[in-house]
C-alpha cells in the first residue's frame, strides 16, 4: 500500500491535482482512497460529480462518533475511488488539526485506512502539528509538493521541506519527500525554475502540468479532467503523473533553502 500526501500553498491546485491523480490511478486498476484534510471540504468534489459529501467532523458534531458507521463517511466516486472529507470546526473556533487526527483514528477504527494507494490532500501549509499529522505516525510516507514558479508558492513548498526534514529525523519516521509537482501558472521558464528548486532541495520534478483551460471546463462540468476529456493533453499529463508516482522509488530527506537563496533562485528566472 502506498500512502502519499500532497502539500502546497493554498490555491495552488492541490485538490485539482489530487482528484485527477486519484482518477488516473483508479484507471490503472488500483483501489484508491482520497482523504481531503481541509475544513474547506472540496478535495473530492470533482470525483463526486460536484457534490459536497458530508464531512467526518460534521457527523461527529451532530451525532457523536459512536453513532457513525463507515458508510456515513466513505463515498464512492468516479471509477470506484473512495472519498472521505475530514472537515473541521466553524472557522475561528476549536482545533481543526485535532479534527484531522480524529478522522484518521475513526477510519483506522473501521479498518478502512487501506487500499492500493491512499491520497491525502492537505490544506495550504503545515500550520500546526495537527495538519502535519498525515506526515506523522506512519500515515503518508511519500510527500509530494505542489507548486508553481511563483515565489510565494515556492516559499510554502520550502517550508514544508522544513517540516519533512524535522519529522524525518524522528526515530521511527517513514516520512520522506517523494518529489515536486509543478502546477504551472504559465510564467516563462517556470518548468526550469521549479526543476532547479526541486534539485536544490534534494528531490526531483516528477511532473510538469501546464496551465490549460480544460481544467476550468472540467470543473464547470463537475468532473475531473480524466473523466471530462480523457483524450486531452492535460489528461495525459495526469496519467503520466500517476505512472511516475507508482514507479517512484526516490524518497529523500529534503534540504530546505535559506530564504535569501530561495529569493536569489527565483530572481535568476525573471
Amino acid at each position: 500500500m502506498k500512502q502519499i500526501a500532497l502539500y502546497g500553498k493554498g490555491g495552488i491546485g492541490k485538490s485539482t491535482t489530487s482528484a485527477n491523480l486519484s482518477a488516473a490511478l483508479s484507471l490503472m486498476d488500483l483501489d484508491i482512497l482520497q482523504i481531503g484534510c481541509d475544513p474547506k471540504r472540496d478535495s473530492t468534489r470533482m470525483l463526486m460529480h460536484g457534490s459536497f459529501i458530508p464531512t467526518v467532523m460534521d457527523l461527529v458534531r451532530t451525532r457523536g462518533d459512536a453513532a457513525i458507521s463507515l458508510s456515513d463517511i466513505v463515498f464512492t466516486g468516479f471509477n470506484g475511488v473512495r472519498c472521505v472529507e475530514a472537515g473541521g470546526p466553524e472557522p475561528g473556533v476549536g482545533c481543526a488539526g485535532r479534527g484531522i487526527i480524529a478522522t484518521f483514528q475513526l477510519l483506522e477504527k473501521f479498518g478502512d485506512l487501506k487500499g492500493d494507494v491512499i491520497v491525502y490532500d492537505v490544506l495550504g501549509d503545515v500550520v500546526c502539528g495537527g495538519f502535519a499529522m498525515p506526515m506523522r505516525e506512519g500515515y503518508a510516507q511519500e510527500i509530494y509538493l505542489v507548486t508553481s514558479g511563483e515565489l510565494m508558492s515556492l516559499y510554502a513548498a520550502n517550508n514544508i521541506c522544513k517540516a519533512i526534514k524535522r519529522l524525518a529525523s524522528r526515530a521511527k519516521s517513514k516520512c520522506r519527500l517523494a518529489g515536486v509537482i509543478c502546477n504551472a501558472k504559465g510564467e516563462p521558464r517556470e518548468e526550469e525554475l521549479v526543476r532547479e528548486f526541486a534539485e536544490r532541495v534534494n528531490s526531483s520534478l516528477v511532473e510538469y502540468i501546464p496551465r490549460d483551460r480544460v481544467v476550468q471546463l472540467a470543473e464547470l462540468n463537475k468532473k475531473t479532467v480524466i473523466e471530462y476529456d480523457p483524450a486531452s493533453a492535460q489528461a495525459a499529463r495526469y496519467r503520466s503523473l500517476a505512472a511516475r508516482v507508482m514507479e517512484n522509488t526516490r524518497m529523500t530527506i529534503p534540504t530546505p533553502l535559506e530564504i535569501d537563496d530561495l529569493e536569489h533562485l527565483a530572481y535568476r528566472y525573471i
Binding site: D65, G94, C95, R98, G99
Partner: protein, 346 residues
C-alpha cells in the same frame, strides 16, 4: 505571544496558575468554582486542595465542577459545553460562580469571558488561569483575588484592616493569621475582613470599607495596587518576618493608621528578649542551615535570630543542620527556634 517562560521551580507556591486561583476561589463559602477543561485538571486540584486542607484541619471537600471537556469539545470549541455547565452550576444553592480556564482552553481560544457575560441569574466571574502562558501559582492567586475584588462594591471607609492574600494552602496559615491579629489587637486595631479565607460573599462585599490592606507577601503587590486604585486603600506589602522585621511592621502599621505604637513596640521587644532567654540552652551551638531558602527576607530573619543566640556557623562536618524557615512575626520566630532546638538535641 507571551515572553514568559514557565517556572522551573514547581514547588506549591510556584506551580500551576489554576491551582493558585483555586486556593482562593474555593475559600468563598457560598460560591462554586467551574474548571473549564478536561476532568483531570479538576481531579488533580481537588486532591491537592483536600489534602492540604486536612493538614490545616479543614475536612471540607472544595466546591468544584469540571466542564469535563472531550476531544469533540477541543475540535469544535468548548463554549457550548461551558454554557451548559454554567446553567447547571447557577441552579445550585450558590450565590456566585467563578470560571477558571485551563491550558487547552486558551490554546483553542474559547471566548470564556463572552460565555460568562450571559445571564445566569447570579454573578459569573471569569478568572484567567492558563498555566502554559508562563504564569505561576502566585499569578493564579493574584488573578483570582483581583477578579473577586472587582465584584465588591465601593463603600465608605471604616476603621478595620483587611488581610489580603493569605496562603490558604500553607501549613500554619491560622497561626500566621493569629500573629497578625495579636499585633493589631495590641495596637488597638480591628480586622475588617480576611480577603480571603473561608469567606462569605457578604464578608467580601465589605472589602472596600477597610482603611488599610496588609498583604501576606510582596508577590501580591499587583493586587495591592489594584485595590488601591479601585477602593483608594493604602497597603503594606507583607506580613512581618523576623524579630526586627516585626518591630518595623508595628511602626509601619502605627504610622499608616495614625496610632502611637511606641509602647506596643517596646512590649514586643521585651517579649522577643523573653523568648530568646527561653532558648538559652542552644546559645553558642555550632550549626549550619539545612538548606538555603529562596527569599532574602527569610535568610535575613533566620540569620538575625541565630546571631542573637550567638550560634556558630561553619563548614565543618557533623554540624547540626537547622531550618532557615521563619514563620510570621515574633511567634513565628519562636516556632522556628523550637525546631532548631529539636534539631540540635536530636
Amino acid at each position: 505571544m507571551t515572553s514568559n517562560t514557565s517556572p522551573t521551580d514547581i514547588s506549591r507556591f510556584r506551580g500551576c496558575t489554576l491551582t493558585g486561583a483555586l486556593s482562593v476561589t474555593t475559600h468563598v463559602r457560598d460560591a462554586v468554582s467551574v474548571i473549564h477543561g478536561p476532568r483531570g485538571c479538576s481531579h488533580h486540584n481537588l486532591s491537592l486542595l483536600h489534602a492540604t486542607g486536612l493538614e490545616n484541619d479543614r475536612v471540607s471537600i472544595p466546591e468544584l465542577i469540571s466542564t469535563g471537556l472531550s476531544e469533540t469539545d477541543i475540535i469544535f470549541g468548548g463554549e457550548e459545553t461551558l454554557r451548559r455547565t454554567l446553567e447547571s452550576a447557577a441552579g445550585r444553592d450558590v450565590r456566585a460562580v467563578y470560571v477558571l480556564s485551563t491550558c487547552i482552553i486558551d490554546t483553542i481560544g474559547d471566548d470564556v469571558c463572552g460565555v460568562c457575560a450571559g445571564d445566569y441569574g447570579i454573578p459569573v466571574i471569569p478568572v484567567p488561569t492558563a498555566g502554559f502562558l508562563g504564569g505561576s501559582f502566585q499569578d493564579g492567586v493574584n488573578n483570582a483575588l483581583t477578579a473577586i475584588a472587582g465584584t465588591a462594591p465601593l463603600s465608605r471607609k471604616e476603621a478595620g484592616i483587611n488581610i489580603i492574600g493569605e496562603r490558604n494552602l500553607e501549613y500554619e496559615v491560622e497561626e500566621n493569621y493569629r500573629e497578625i491579629h495579636r499585633i493589631l489587637t495590641n495596637l488597638g486595631l480591628a480586622i475588617n475582613i480576611r480577603f480571603l479565607h473561608t469567606s462569605s460573599l457578604d464578608q467580601i462585599s465589605l472589602l472596600g470599607a477597610g482603611r488599610l490592606n496588609i498583604l501576606r507577601e510582596p508577590g501580591l503587590v499587583p493586587v495591592g495596587e489594584y485595590l488601591r486604585q479601585r477602593f483608594g486603600t493604602p497597603y503594606i506589602a507583607s506580613f512581618p518576618l523576623g524579630l526586627s522585621g516585626t518591630l518595623t511592621f508595628i511602626k509601619t502599621v502605627s504610622r499608616a493608621c495614625g496610632v502611637d505604637g511606641k509602647r506596643v513596640a517596646e512590649e514586643e521587644q521585651s517579649l522577643q528578649e523573653e523568648i530568646l532567654n527561653e532558648f538559652s540552652d542552644i546559645r553558642g551551638t555550632p550549626v549550619v542551615f539545612d538548606q538555603t531558602p529562596d527569599d532574602p527576607e527569610s535568610i535575613h530573619a533566620a540569620e538575625e535570630a541565630a546571631g542573637m543566640l550567638r550560634l556558630k556557623f561553619g563548614n565543618i562536618a557533623n554540624l547540626q543542620a537547622i531550618p532557615a524557615a521563619p514563620s510570621v512575626g515574633t511567634h513565628g520566630i519562636r516556632r522556628m527556634l523550637h525546631r532548631w532546638r529539636r534539631a540540635i538535641h536530636a
